[in-house]
């Protein structure tokens, strides 16, 4: 009595699995070619970060002011580029004393270094809808290589959204104040929304 039920269930599962395995590939091959072009990063994007601390928890926040452009070349992802500028003065953590500390010459020194910039040097596709974005990050007058992982999360005819994550070692930019109480690693969690320009 149970044999046929099992068999049908197994067959159904296999069918769904095969369908799932092929659908995204097909859809991406189809749509990625439509997204070629130049985009301007929208203020609705979110540039979130967090820094862990000993014993758990940490500081979470985001940057309110930034700008940037990216060019997508789906035929040859490697020829895509992004350049991004962040204004550290706009850091927000919900705690004024922490924000003042971050803006001060202890961390960003935003009075002398008003911008943090990133320029991609190499973009490598890692799966149908993900890519590694390597580039040069300049903060506080120091430039060092940094890599972010981007994944396509949504796109329309003229807009596209990537979820971008990455880890930055703040010691490379002369911002290692507070280590090891606060981690040297800053985790970025960003939603980059581009509008065709």
């Amino acid at each position: 009595m149970t044999m046929p039920t099992h068999f049908i269930a197994a067959a159904a599962r296999l069918g769904i699995a095969i369908a799932l395995a092929f659908t995204p590939l097909a859809a991406n091959a189809d749509t990625l070619s439509q997204v070629a072009g130049s985009y301007k990063i929208q203020p609705s994007s979110r540039i979130g970060f967090s820094v862990g601390q000993v014993g758990g928890g940490g500081i979470n926040g985001d940057f309110k002011k930034f700008s940037g452009i990216f060019k997508l070349n789906p035929a040859d992802i490697g020829r895509s580029t992004i350049s991004f500028t962040l204004y550290p003065e706009s850091v927000s953590t919900g705690q004024a004393r922490i924000e003042n500390f971050l803006r001060s010459d202890a961390v960003f020194d935003s009075a002398n270094f008003p911008t943090i910039t990133f320029k991609s040097t190499q973009i490598t596709q890692t799966s149908p809808n993900t890519a590694d974005v390597a580039g040069m990050l300049t903060a506080r007058g120091k430039t060092s290589q940094a890599t972010f992982q981007a994944s396509l999360s949504d796109h329309g005819k003229n807009s596209i959204t990537f979820h971008v994550e990455g880890k930055i070692l703040r010691s490379r930019y002369g911002m290692d104040v507070g280590t090891p109480i606060y981690s040297n690693v800053v985790q970025f969690d960003m939603l980059i929304q581009g509008q065709r320009s």
């Binding site: 601390q53 014993g55 004393r97 500390f101 109480i181």
Partner: protein, 197 residues
């Protein structure tokens, strides 16, 4: 030698006294300076040193108290007037109290502050926060208590130090030497026999 005798403090009591006295005296200018510096990065690390040494005082004082109750106390010189004995004992009780009250209120500042900066003693052990209300006003209350206790006890300690010097250089008795040399066995010197040249 290790334990107190009727004539002198033992080595353990002497080490406790001088190590704690040294750190305690250092903490006051350190605390004063660190809250007033405008260099945020320096301030952050000075605060962490101040907290670490403060916890060290608290831990050592707890051990010292256990040791004190397990030992006799050298007898006061017979030449001391009743008011001097009462005065010195009151000062000692106040100093013992401040060795606990000051670090505990300091710990309360770190615990009640909305900044919730972890206490990572000498970058070695995480000291958990005390279970206190976290708010700006709670932090302000504990900060004021800590500062007042620290400066008032600095005055008590100054009187205590002047009294010790008075015993040694003016009255020329054994009060100071028995807190310095655990082997001291000789009877007390008579208070005013030797004339100052």
């Amino acid at each position: 030698m290790l334990r107190n005798s009727r004539d002198s403090f033992g080595l353990i009591s002497i080490l406790f006294h001088w190590i704690i006295a040294l750190i305690f005296i250092g903490q006051i200018p350190l605390g004063y300076w660190m809250v007033r510096t405008s260099d945020f990065a320096l301030q952050f690390s000075l605060y962490q040193w101040h907290k670490s040494f403060g916890f060290l005082v608290l831990g050592l004082s707890a051990l010292r108290l256990v040791w004190k109750f397990a030992n006799t106390r050298p007898a006061d010189p017979s030449a001391m007037a009743t008011w001097e004995r009462i005065g010195s004992h009151v000062a000692h009780v106040l100093l013992y109290l401040s060795l606990f009250a000051i670090p505990l209120t300091g710990w309360a500042i770190a615990s009640s502050s909305p900044l919730q900066i972890p206490s990572f003693m000498f970058n070695f052990v995480v000291i958990p926060p005390l279970p206190l209300t976290i708010s700006d006003s709670a932090e302000a209350f504990w900060t004021a208590s800590h500062a007042w206790l620290a400066y008032v006890s600095a005055v008590v300690a100054a009187c205590h130090i002047l009294a010790a010097l008075h015993h040694h250089f003016w009255k020329r008795d054994s009060i100071l030497t028995r807190m310095l040399d655990p082997r001291r066995k000789a009877p007390e010197r008579a208070p005013t026999q030797d004339v100052i040249p």
